[in-house]
Symmetry: C2
């Protein structure tokens, strides 16, 4: 029983919550307030560094809380999961667009071309005895867009969907019609490579709880 | 204005409806009652033949109806869309499982391996002057599964999800955790390659209506 961990998601992304819910996975949410600054500009490093920062930040809060309330907190194993998704096209990292003009610029880069989506994932394990361990990896998916006309771009931006999304699009929403194909995991493009995550946990011998 | 067509979906699949709704596309539903018998055993031919059969069947009903009610039916261009999705693994075409044992058999074939998902799509155009035209194509996506243990297969079948789905799984549901990657269109794996469909219509100069 000692390898059962309670998941704490260090993210407030509705897509990440939706994917965990879809698979009946039990979790709590504790978003990190960490600043998203990085030391690297290499996509595979940036996404892992930010994922680790978020997970470590939340893990530190949990340990402080548990220390302060050790008389009332019953010990359990905790797995904090941090994730960070970035889009990279033509050597440029695309974050969330700053405004509609920026979204137009990004979509013009992506249309009729391919780009990569990277999600970094960090696990921070806090055992019930208080030991801490960290593990991280990234998953890459290539995405190919059909050509988009100016009218397509305008209609898509008018839908309001691009503004809170890395690369200015959401594959699970109204951008579905612009994606010619994927080479990789679809859920990674949504921002949370759940199949890889569960397989890594299986390999690590970590069990999680599900609702039935 | 004469190139605007009203879509009639010759399918009752909740996934196909969901994808059209996701993109605010206007359509009506008129499922075909045609028997799913085919003359071929080649996946690319089977899926197109069935898609055409469904669309032609519905188009014939519409023309009969319009002929009988020509005094009250106002003429408009109609596009009937038929679709058929099949899964092919190890030279075998996998339809919907006949029972739970069949679902176990299929999932054991798919796990730790790759397979192809084919969706055939048929357009039948009925112009407001009564002219009929047909056009069809297919889209293929490759899907790679992670290894599944017997406990994974049992839990997935217990969820009830496999029974109404070709190949005994739904990528948009609880099978998400078993899919390592896709090479192709995700929505094609769900059963409706919407991006390809809209691009074919664009190439054909056909316009459709959307809700805003």
């Amino acid at each position: 029983m000692d390898n059962i961990y309670k998941i704490v998601l260090a993210s407030n992304s509705p897509r990440r919550k939706q994917i965990l819910d879809q698979l009946n996975i039990e979790y709590e949410i504790c978003p990190s307030g960490v600043e998203e600054t990085v030391s690297s500009s290499v996509p595979t490093e940036v996404c892992q560094e930010l994922a680790s920062k978020k997970a470590m930040d939340v893990a530190a809060s949990i340990r402080t809380y548990n220390e302060l309330h050790k008389d009332i907190v019953s010990p359990q194993n905790i797995l904090v999961i941090g994730a960070d998704t970035i889009v990279a096209a033509n050597e440029e990292i695309l974050g969330k667009p700053s405004d509609e003009n920026d979204a137009v610029r990004m979509l013009k880069m992506l249309q009729n071309s391919s780009h990569s989506v990277f999600t970094g994932v960090a696990f921070v394990f806090i055992s019930k005895e208080g030991r801490v361990g960290e593990y991280h990896f990234y998953e890459e998916s290539k995405v190919y867009f059909y050509p988009m006309g100016d009218d397509d771009i305008k209609r898509y931006i008018d839908s309001g969907e691009p503004m809170d999304k890395a690369g200015a699009y959401g594959i699970q929403g109204k951008a579905a019609e612009f994606v010619r194909s994927i080479d990789g995991d679809y859920y990674n493009v949504m921002g949370f490579p759940i199949a890889r995550i569960l397989n890594e946990l299986k390999t690590l011998g970590v069990k999680i709880k599900r609702y039935y």
